[in-house]
């Protein structure tokens, strides 16, 4: 999976918030095989570098840290947070969230495009948390974004892929862009489904962090993402209305009923 200049083996990215403990977070990261984890600067900081000890624990796993602007509700807030994150984590990568609705936490697409433009001009490499809206996606690409992350469903809702048609259309529209499904994934089958649609990867957080056993769930997601990707690469069957026998029936003794070739 290509994220700007980085090529990653794992197609799974994990969030780091709300685990029972940093130790379980570490074990979950290892079990997931993720090479990138997101860290929210906003809440963990409250002051510059105030979350340093927590970040150090994450870094001990050897994974790359992708700062995000989770919880930012305005362009200015998101841009400032991204700039702070670049200082703290020494990376140009940023997962850009500009929240537009407090209830559904859906992105403010207008603010997102504007913030993407500002940050791209400032040298950032933006991974944009967006919806499956194709027009917004076009505008984000125009603004310099090369990794789009449409939601499956609202953040933390565990509802899976709400709009499979929309996600499929997005994949078809941007065959060469890196696309990840971000948000709304609840169980591994949701992740597998996203991968079967041809998405490059998935980003999830609470599905693992809030599971009864986060480490086991992380392993489940690792396998599901691999399985879904393999299915996509193998060119799967399309659903059909009629049964199709996998063994030829010609020449067998059949009682009653016709055989249609």
């Amino acid at each position: 999976m290509r994220i700007y200049d980085e090529t990653l083996k794992s197609r799974l990215m994990l969030g780091t918030a709300r685990y029972p403990s940093p130790q379980i977070l570490k074990q979950a990261i290892l079990a997931s095989g993720a090479e990138i984890v997101t860290v929210s600067l906003r809440r963990e900081a409250a002051g510059e570098r105030a979350g340093q000890k927590f970040w150090d624990l994450i870094r001990e796993t050897g994974v790359k840290v992708l700062p995000n602007t989770a919880g930012c509700h305005s362009v200015r807030e998101a841009v400032t947070t991204a700039q702070m994150a670049r200082e703290v984590f020494r990376t140009n990568l940023v997962k850009l969230e500009v929240i537009g609705d407090a209830d559904t936490l859906q992105p403010d697409l207008f603010g997102l495009v504007e913030a993407t433009r500002i940050l791209t001009e400032d040298g950032f490499q933006v991974l944009a948390y967006t919806t499956e809206d194709l027009v917004a996606a076009d505008r984000l690409v125009e603004a310099g974004c090369r990794v789009l992350m449409p939601w499956g469903s609202p953040i933390g809702s565990a509802r899976g892929l709400n709009n499979v048609y929309g996600l499929r259309a997005m994949r078809a529209r941007f065959p060469d862009l890196t696309l990840l499904v971000d948000a709304g994934i609840g169980v591994p089958s949701h992740a597998a489904q996203a991968m079967e649609l041809g998405y490059d990867g998935v980003l999830l957080s609470s599905a693992v962090a809030l599971a009864g056993n986060p480490v086991t769930m992380a392993r489940g997601f690792r396998l599901a993402v691999e399985a879904g990707r393999l299915a996509f690469e193998a060119d799967p069957l399309q659903p059909r209305d009629m049964a199709e026998a996998s063994t030829p029936v010609l020449g067998q003794a059949l009682l009653g009923g016709a055989v249609f070739a």
Binding site: R43, A50, G51, K53, F54
Partner: protein, 325 residues
Amino acid sequence: MTITVIGAGVAGLVAAVTLAERGAAVTLHERSDRLGENAASWLAGGMLAPFCEAESADPSIVAPGRAAIDWWAARVPEVMRQGTLVLAPRRDAGEVQRYARRTREGLMLDAEGVEALEPDLAGRFSGGLHFATEAHLDPRRALVALAERLRALGGTIHFGSDIMPEAATGDVVLDCRGIAADAPQLRSVRGEMMVLKTRDIRLSRPIRLLHPRMPVYVVPRAEGRFMVGATMIESEASGGPTLRSAVELMNAAYALHPAFAEAEVTEMKAGRRPAFPDNLPRVTRRGRIVSVNGLYRHGFLLSPDCAAKAADLALGSSSREEIAA
């Protein structure tokens, strides 16, 4: 045997009392000028809720947590054994089922069951979970009572006394400084809380309100006061509460009962919980220094067990070098 304890938060006070009860001559040093100042435990909820806490914490906390209820009840006034009531807003009612799956001992209640326990919440919740054997106390009254008990047992407390463990006198030194100890791997998990005062609503037990984004609790205290807490933020920052956290806590109280909208906000503070990577406490000995730290959000729940282990190490009845509580 003479023992010097450094730090008069819940870890230090419980350890000092435990050692004094076992016959040691205890001197307690506290950097602050008065009890509770700068102590995370002064801002605690005071819930003795081992089963509820085990929803997200390691199950090893349950046994020592249950024993802690009796420990406190034998030593401080007003340990209320009314249990804990776990509720979820109607639109998140499924959270109660999930909570029940992940905990033990919770009794499922319907709306009438909730009303029977807390009449003022009648009609507001379609169901809940009651953990009948859990308890709560007022942390400040408890710490004051422990300080009195320590003095009654012959111990002395020096406030405004900032000493390092290596420089302290005594056969054994107990380092109970929490965050200030700056131990390897120790981090701070910031928590913000507020105290509300109203006579318009009465509660008999701590209420945990399950919300997917912001689980909070409301703990009733004497004289119409309610402690609302607490945020959990991975941060070393020591400043006051943020507006965002204040709004979230206030919203939660309001969601529990609209009468809180008219409550007086009498206090709003932020503290730092000391925690190790597994969020479990550690009791260790190196030379004549025994360290108790990392009580995280379980200061009142786990300090009696930690103190017993520290006393074993200090008084020599345990040869183990390190005990993970």
